[in-house]
Amino acid sequence: MSAAVQAKAASRLLLSGNEAIARGVWEAGVKVAAAYPGTPSTEMLENIALYPDLYAEWSVNEKVSLEVAIGASMSGARAFCAMKHVGMNVASDAFMTQTLAGVVGGLVVAVADDVGLSSSQNEQDTRFWGRFAHVPVLEPADSQEAYDMVKAAFDLSEQYNTPVILRLTTRVCHVKAMVTVGEKDERAIKGFDITQKRWVMTPNNAKVLLPKQIAREDELRKASEASGLNLVDNGSDTRVGFVTSGPAFMHVRESFPDAPVLKLGFSYPLPVEAIKAFRATVDALVVVEETEPLIENELKAAGLSDIHGKDILPRLGELTPNVLIPAIYRLRGEEPPPATTYPKYEPFPRPPTMCPACPHMGVYYTLSRLRKRVQISGDIGCYTLGAGHPWNALDTTISMGASMGIALGMDKARSEETKDKAVVSVIGDSTFLHMGMQGLLDIVYNRGNVTTLILDNRTTGMTGGQHHAGTGKDLNGQEAPRVDFATLCTALGVSPERIHKVDPYKLPVLFKLIRQEIEIDGPSVIITDRPCVLSEFYGKLTPYRVVDDKCTGCGNCINVGCPAISVSKTEVVKRDGAPDIVKKYTTIDTAMCTGCHMCVESCGPKAILPAQPVAVE
């Protein structure tokens, strides 16, 4: 448990940005908080749930989580919602109208951008949403600011009758830094007022609000110009001054400790007048922003043409000192200092792997055996790793829940060459509930010919194992209603005889079932039902070992893809008039093996036998 939960006011603690925000949310008197997990935002709700006197939930997706927060705000409670950058794409339908309707209780939406793509499918800049939705954007640079600004955001929200975006990046969420915490602000819920008609956004009601929204934005611009969150950090070296926001400020200060910096904490609406005044105090001005040139373009449009930004800095990734220093030296007409003393060395890649006994391996091993006969549309989760070595059994990954819609599109756009191929979609349990159900309904409704594999491992795996509507537990670990996937698929219109549950560890059974289903026309669903090996539902079994004198070197077990199996010896067999055969004799790390027996099922000569459990020496 985070030390922050128990900490008394004025305690100073080492907290990640996500932990600091959780404390700030609690202190701000928030009553309802909701999210769907997503790196790097996940730990906000996990930590909020540890505090007393508030309601916190995992919602089925980001749009629902925002709607839950909106309902609470309408009822006069302070409400908080957290998501990763791509979550806002999902939530935006609700967001874009809520901005017009306004708030009663403060409504803050924390959106975490994965600058540098540590665990995401794209790199998008959430600050656009502030401009699109006409709402203020606050940008903390470290944990203390994240804590301070989430509280400031609630005040701003209520003062200006607007949702507020708290824009975070991975280097705020996942960096630990010192934070001084404060007191909880006690506030009562006002309750929903049924006499108000302000929430019914018919065209007539919305029309009245549009000019108010524009006026609000003008007021917010004045507030930003005067805000203490936008401050000039003076410096003696006025050759180059910087306008920056978020963690990029830290990189600027690290690189150029004596340079003047205008740091934007309240970055939208942009305080253009303050920046113009700052511009006059420095020889050259560089805008350092992650990732898109939003501030830069707005300043240029406002007449500040003589500034630098993306002309000298990259438009993607983090703007760390090793990026900033050479760029600024060159701008000053100087030779950059040498970066490193020792040469860069790349021994070999070490990509993420599936865990030993991961049930997904059974699915991808099987699909790899059918590879030539299927095209496979995938989704977002650990199972995206199926695209990699040794399975190479996943052809697309675009967005949450996209696997089935894409599969249907593939089905409807067959060429002469692909007309006989089966179309398979692969999706995880949490992703299916997030945004996948509609895709399956579309396949059924439009008579698609797709076999859908729902890999139900009873957790949200990639983000670290969170509960969802299909695990039987809630965010607090309490018993909760558990959706039944087979019944759900039946309700969506899949014929009950085309819905199968199967143990993915039983490779021959799985193989026969997938082969059978892809040969029959019409929609079908195969649900695999082994839990994630990192979840509380997984039970470890007796590990296995390879009997050396029985192993024939066929390498089948290696193709399962389990990291506990490795090649102990290779042997090249020369053949006349045919390519050489490379025999791969294998060994199993019994300390890693948890006894799932998938490799046993792949082994022809039965060379894999139970090992005595090996205690740590």
Binding site: S118, K176, E318, T320, T341, Y342, K344, Y345
Partner: protein, 210 residues
């Protein structure tokens, strides 16, 4: 307190305890009154991939990341990972390397080769490397998880505060959670410290920022 920043890069693979080691270093620095920043890696890196944590402390720390070429100490829980991150070191910085070789599936399957001698590669580039088998020490003490404490013991003489402060931070954690493990951790710490001293041989103490 001087305004010099100490930069420690801890690296290894998912599940080796890199994050825990970094957390202990950070907490020790806090106890000594430093400002501290520590980067975390999450998401896909958890799944057996490369893991690093940047620990920075001093009177005031700005950026949470260590700029390549400025790390004072590289703590490598795995030998090829040590070689991978050695360019992060400043001239005269020290790489403390556990010699265990962890082979990823892409190497095991023959797609890539594990380098013969990553330590030799580092030395050839001019890096000061102190390498030893931390796993052997941990095994001899009866628990492979002690590698973490062994490695911290190994760098204890290269920090801008007494080794005993780091030791106390580790033992304090066990006193609170697993008192039975205090004594064996003390041994692991001492043996790691001794191993590093032996590898350093006659060379002078290269303490960071002293």
């Amino acid at each position: 307190m001087s305004d010099i920043i100490t930069n420690i890069l801890v690296c290894g693979t998912g599940g080796q305890g890199v994050m825990t080691a970094a957390e202990i270093l950070a907490q020790t620095a806090i106890a000594k009154g430093y400002d501290v920043k520590k980067s975390e890696v999450a998401g896909m890196a958890q799944r057996g991939g490369v893991v690093t944590s940047h620990v920075r402390f001093g009177s005031k720390v700005w950026s949470p990341v260590i700029t390549p070429g400025t790390a004072d100490i590289l703590v490598a829980f795995e030998v090829a990972e040590g070689a991978r991150w050695a360019d992060m070191l400043r001239p005269g910085g020290v790489a403390m390397v556990n010699t265990i070789r962890l082979t990823p599936p892409v190497v095991s399957a023959g797609l890539f080769k594990y380098p013969e001698d990553p330590v030799a590669t580092m030395r050839a580039a001019g890096v000061t490397v102190y390498d030893f088998d931390a796993g052997a020490i941990a095994r001899s003490l009866g628990d492979l998880r002690l590698i973490n404490t062994v490695m911290l013991g190994a760098i204890a003489d290269y920090l801008p505060f007494p080794a005993e402060d780091l030791e106390e931070q580790i033992l304090g954690r066990f006193r609170a959670r697993k008192p039975a493990m205090v004594e064996v951790n003390q041994k692991a710490f001492e043996q790691g410290r001794t191993a590093a001293r032996e590898r350093a041989g006659g060379s002078q103490k290269l303490a960071a920022n002293q």
